[in-house]
């Protein structure tokens, strides 16, 4: 054991230590720059309504994801045509979304959603996919409250 110890450890290791430390500092520095230098902009999974509207004409007719809350009171479900319309809001701006098919079961007023599709020139977002973005809260229903009441009233009688 004591024979290979000296053979395995390079003799120059101590001499090169300052270089190694400098290198580690640079790596950590670059990593910090990555995180706090505004690079997070391009890794976002979705845009908020305000960000999408801010893009102006370049935001039209390109595939994007839009995320926000379902604005309470705007949900309309047509069980004949299976057409679903609602507004997505981030508190500042709203965008009307048109979707088809029954939504996921957690869909309700005020729920976080992400829709995939294209924002049309008529200022209606044509959705080809609807996802729920739920919070990190897990709570049982309060006394008298029934889970998923909203969904049942929304989809009732659709037979879907």
């Amino acid at each position: 054991m004591n024979i290979d110890e000296s053979a395995v450890t390079p003799a120059k290791a101590t001499k090169r230590r300052p270089i190694a430390i400098a290198a580690v500092v640079v790596v950590v520095g670059v990593f910090g720059w990555l995180l706090y230098g505004g690079l997070d902009k391009n890794v976002v999974f979705f845009l908020t309504p305000q960000e999408l509207l801010a893009k102006g004409t370049s935001g039209y007719d390109v595939p994007v994801r839009l995320g926000g809350q379902v604005k309470p009171g705007t949900v309309k479900w047509d069980d004949k045509t299976l057409r679903l319309t609602f507004d997505v809001t981030d508190g500042q701006s709203d965008i009307a979304v048109q979707s088809s098919g029954a939504p996921p079961q957690m869909f309700r007023d005020g729920q976080g959603v992400v829709v995939e599709g294209r924002f049309g020139r008529d200022h209606v977002f044509n959705s080809t996919g609807l996802m729920i973005k739920h919070s990190n809260e897990y709570r049982p229903p309060k006394a008298g409250e029934k889970p998923q009441e909203m969904y049942k009233t929304l989809i009732k009688g659709s037979g879907a």
Binding site: A23, V27, V30, L34, G37, G38, L39, N42, S58, G59
Partner: protein, 228 residues
């Protein structure tokens, strides 16, 4: 002056590798042919929609370049392993990282040249209109090539000395390359489309950061990898 010695070693190793490649042009021609073939296959896969092909051009170009480059990385050590030249190389006095730098430089020239040809063919095949910001696009190509070659040269030094190197190199390399490839593809795509949404900047920054981090990390780690 010790640094000057190392630098001379870097150039000597790079020059030696490139000379070997120049003498046997078959390797280079084969790699370029593979890159062009993959581009053509992407063309078939995407179908007759010209606009769809244009949109997918950036992604297809980088993937074709990546698959072709992987062949080059294994080759760069294979020559030495077959002739038994790696052990005497390690016995020379001087820093081990110089070997890595030399190999990296050689691979970079090799892959860079391949990339130029593949991109030119890709521009024709995919009917890409060259954007006004073409110098930035060349910058993205250079940065992307550095990212791919740095990790490729590093992992090939292990994979080429294992059994099943053809499987092992992509298996180790591709997951680690995800950030670099994603950034290179997105930046190229944005620039080819005229960069209307001003996305390219952030992706180029990510590429620079990736290159710096892994250039340093691989140089530090190479010593542990090559001595075994």
């Amino acid at each position: 002056m010790a640094f000057a010695d190392d630098w001379r070693r870097v150039r000597a190793i790079a020059w030696k590798d490139l000379t070997t490649e120049r003498r046997s042009k078959a390797g280079f021609n084969g790699v370029v042919a593979l890159g062009v073939t993959i581009l053509m296959l992407f063309g078939f896969a995407l179908g007759p929609d010209t606009q769809a092909i244009r949109d997918a051009a950036a992604g297809a170009l980088w993937l074709a370049a990546l698959f072709a480059a992987v062949l080059a990385f294994n080759r760069s050590y294979q020559v030495e392993l077959e002739s038994g030249a790696l052990d005497p190389l390690l016995l020379y006095p001087g820093s081990r990282w110089a070997i890595f730098s030399g190999k990296l430089l050689a691979n970079l020239s090799f892959v860079g040249l391949m990339l130029v040809i593949v991109v030119l063919v890709g521009i024709v095949l995919f009917q890409v209109t060259i954007p006004a910001a073409w110098p930035a696009l060349i910058g993205v190509l250079v940065l992307g090539a550095i990212g791919i070659c740095t990790l490729g040269t590093f992992y090939a030094s292990m994979a080429s000395r294992s059994r099943a190197r053809e499987v092992l190199l992509p298996l180790l390399l591709f997951p680690m390359l995800v950030p670099a490839l994603l950034a290179a593809m997105q930046a190229s795509k944005a620039l080819l489309g005229g960069d209307l949404m001003h996305e390219a900047d952030a992706w180029i920054k990510l590429l620079i950061a990736y290159d710096v981090i892994f250039l340093i990390a691989t140089h530090l780690a190479f010593e542990h990898v090559i001595e075994a």
